[in-house]
């Protein structure tokens, strides 16, 4: 069997290009509409995508002059009405409270029955003003520390901590709840979390390659997003997913003309991602070639309203026909779909005692 290539689609705002909103069929109000989000989820599931990602920033984004909604909220909004697609919001680490982030992503994992991912990113220095904190000296170090604290909090309840032991009156076994006592010297977290361990144990942690300082930190992530066209999957290491900005031929205009027109309106900054322009079929051929080379690709559409319809008409059907997609099965966790193991709990000591009951999952 061929190794699948997992497809992710980012659905923030009008598209990756800062001029996208001018070409969008959506009015600024519609960009936020819950109905539009639902449409993306239905599409992603129908076409066998592994996950939707939700970019975010606490600062205004030139791509979305009308603003944007919190990414965890958007992902959670779709959790109850989808059954297969992974939901991967950004939650930044630089100025956040690790305790809140851990609780939010664990909750998303509960309400999506194990389909949560977490794109852990650093924040721009200017974000410090919004929370009244000094500018972080080492955002990448902060990221590694926060992910470490969050993972510890996700282990702070063992899987079978809820015992419901009627005979002794105990709802939880306190020996299976743990203080995490993380202390970085700059901040500390006590624990345990207030949310029980979630279906995946740990949500799938996704980190941008640029945010990893050196190779040792790769253990921080389950998945690394890379903008390097030469990136290769590394057995035993985190999964490698290419970050690709696409601009596609439409019926009316070739991709190169569309890109030129967009650039004439507002030049796009280099975000360290691969940029790909051409037909939907050519994109499909390139992606099919990537199966086995990388583990997945995350697509960013230049103008979501336009490029997504090309993806739907040409790219996704061609990939399905080539059998390089492995659509997630309804009810499967994101880890299962990606072939990642459910992490063992660092605090678990041994086999469970005899229990009289448990919290049904």
């Amino acid at each position: 069997m061929t190794t699948p290539v997992h497809l992710f689609l980012d659905v923030d705002g009008g598209g990756w290009h800062p001029a996208a909103w001018r070409w969008s069929r959506s009015t600024p109000d519609e960009v936020f509409s819950p109905g539009r989000l639902r449409g993306f989820a239905v599409t992603a599931q129908a076409h066998g995508l592994t996950g939707l990602t939700f970019e975010d920033s606490p600062l205004p984004d030139p791509r979305n002059p009308a603003g944007h909604l919190d990414a965890v909220q958007r992902a959670a909004f779709l959790a109850g009405t989808t059954e297969a697609v992974g939901l991967l919001p950004v939650a930044a680490t630089t100025y956040s409270e690790p305790f809140h982030v851990a609780a939010q992503i664990a909750s998303l994992d509960h309400s999506s029955a194990g389909r949560a991912g977490w794109i852990a990113t650093t924040s721009p220095a200017a974000a410090a003003r919004g929370v009244g904190l000094p500018v972080a000296q080492d955002p990448a170090g902060e990221l590694a520390d926060v992910v470490h604290a969050v993972r510890a909090l996700w282990d702070s309840w063992e899987d079978d901590a809820v015992v419901r032991d009627v005979a002794t009156g105990r709802y939880v076994d306190r020996d299976r709840l743990h203080h995490v006592d993380v202390d970085t010297g700059r901040w500390s977290v006590k624990g345990p979390l207030t949310v029980p361990r979630s279906p995946q144990g740990h949500a799938v942690v996704v980190v941008q390659e640029d945010d990893l300082r050196h190779r040792a930190d790769r253990s921080t992530a389950d998945v690394v997003l890379s903008g390097d066209a030469g990136a290769r999957r590394s057995p035993g290491g985190p999964l490698v997913v290419l970050d690709v900005e696409v601009v596609l031929d439409t019926d009316a205009h070739p991709a190169v003309d569309r890109l030129a027109a967009l650039e004439a309106r507002a030049p796009a900054p280099d975000r360290g991602r691969i940029r790909w322009a051409g037909s939907g079929q050519a994109l499909a051929a390139w992606l099919a070639d990537l199966a086995g080379v990388v583990d997945g690709v995350r697509l960013h559409a230049a103008v979501l309203d336009e490029d997504l319809s090309t993806l739907l008409r040409t790219t996704f059907p061609a990939l399905r026909a080539a059998r390089v997609l492995q659509p997630p099965l309804p009810g499967a966790t994101l880890r299962t779909t990606l072939g990642l193991e459910r992490p063992a709990n660092r605090y678990a000591t041994g086999p469970a005692l005899v229990r009289t009951g448990g919290d049904p999952r």
Partner: protein
Amino acid sequence: MTTPSRDDLRFPDAVVHFGVFFQGVNHSTIWSDPRSGSQIAHSTFVQLVRTAERGLFDAFFLGEGLRLREQRGKIHDLDVVGRPDALTELATLAGLTTHIGLVATQNTTYNDPADLARRLASLDVLSGGRAAWNVVTTDNAWTGENFRRGGYLDHADRYERAARFVRTAQRVWDSWDGRRFTPVDVQDAFFDVEFTPTVPRSPQQHPVLFQAGDSPAGRDFATRTADVVFSRHGTDHADALEFADDIRRRTVAAGRPEGDVLVLPGTQIVVADTEAEVEEKARWVLEQQVTPATALSLVGQVWGEDLSHLDPDGPLPAHDPVITDIDGTRGAHRAGADARVLAQRWRAVAEEGGFSLRELVLHHSSERGFAGTASQLADELAHWVRSGASDGFNITPYLVPSGLDDIVDQLVPALQDRGAYPREYAGTTLREHLGLRAPLTRR
């Protein structure tokens, strides 16, 4: 209950508003019964919120606590515990419902206004104008240990910080003029922040503001700032009336029209078909809630020591408590009370009633809400809102996820028959359901 004449009723046309309060952590949710489902599984929340929406409840309401309770250094193991993050869970429920309001309890001590205001506004937009924020102010260094910046705040300052926090959030929500965002720049004793918001306004303009806190400072904060007070005065009519009158007085003193702040006490409702069944069911609920271990634990909190070795069917301890004040930092019940005075009072009550230790606790816990047949309850609750004791109730189901079924299937129709409950939602936003006017800063 005496049936009052129509003349006693200050608000003869008032209707009862219902919310459901999912506490998440407590000993009043019965977990030992086979019908009791998971406290964390998403299906539990879906069943509850759908039942509540079928029953035209105004709101689904989640509590919050940011550290697991401990007693004498050990995690408390007797209560239902473990709950989802409120705003995240409510965003999921927004995707599964169309009308019911979604209320998140969120603390002003361990959050940042820029971040929290944005999350609340996001929920408000995603739900089409159904979000609310129950503003709580709990602070202590013990909870603060879970946070980057500690979060310790002098008790006297917490409502000051809460007021500044809410004011900053309102500025975030007011920053959208339909086309662009005005930067928010706040410099005061608590915040020094500057940022440009990114979330536009929802159909109800601002999330509805609830407040839960009972001290005079808390009541003043509520009547200056909030739309709804979530109170503990949901059992005794005279006590509730006194509280609601106080809120009305303070509302007017704050320069707002009387009735501008709704009062929704938390309560429990037990429904059964006959009076005999009511009594039996209420007793069953109580005994399931106050297990022998829970009774020993509650008495242990007052005495300040582990009493789990005592016989729950025996007497209260003969000696005095080893503590003077009940510890307020570990989430104990009756925090801050004088332990010796309370212990003396409990011993006197036990002696007079001939109560064992557990019977004494059952006696004190029995006044948790209402019990009756649907028609008795409909009369009583209608009387509460028409006499001005409250505007409705936040119901804590004693069993989840099925604990709202009989309320929706039996009590709601009985209230509707009396013209004391709506027959359809007033609109699509929470503000409309509650009959609230525009947000305070947008009038």
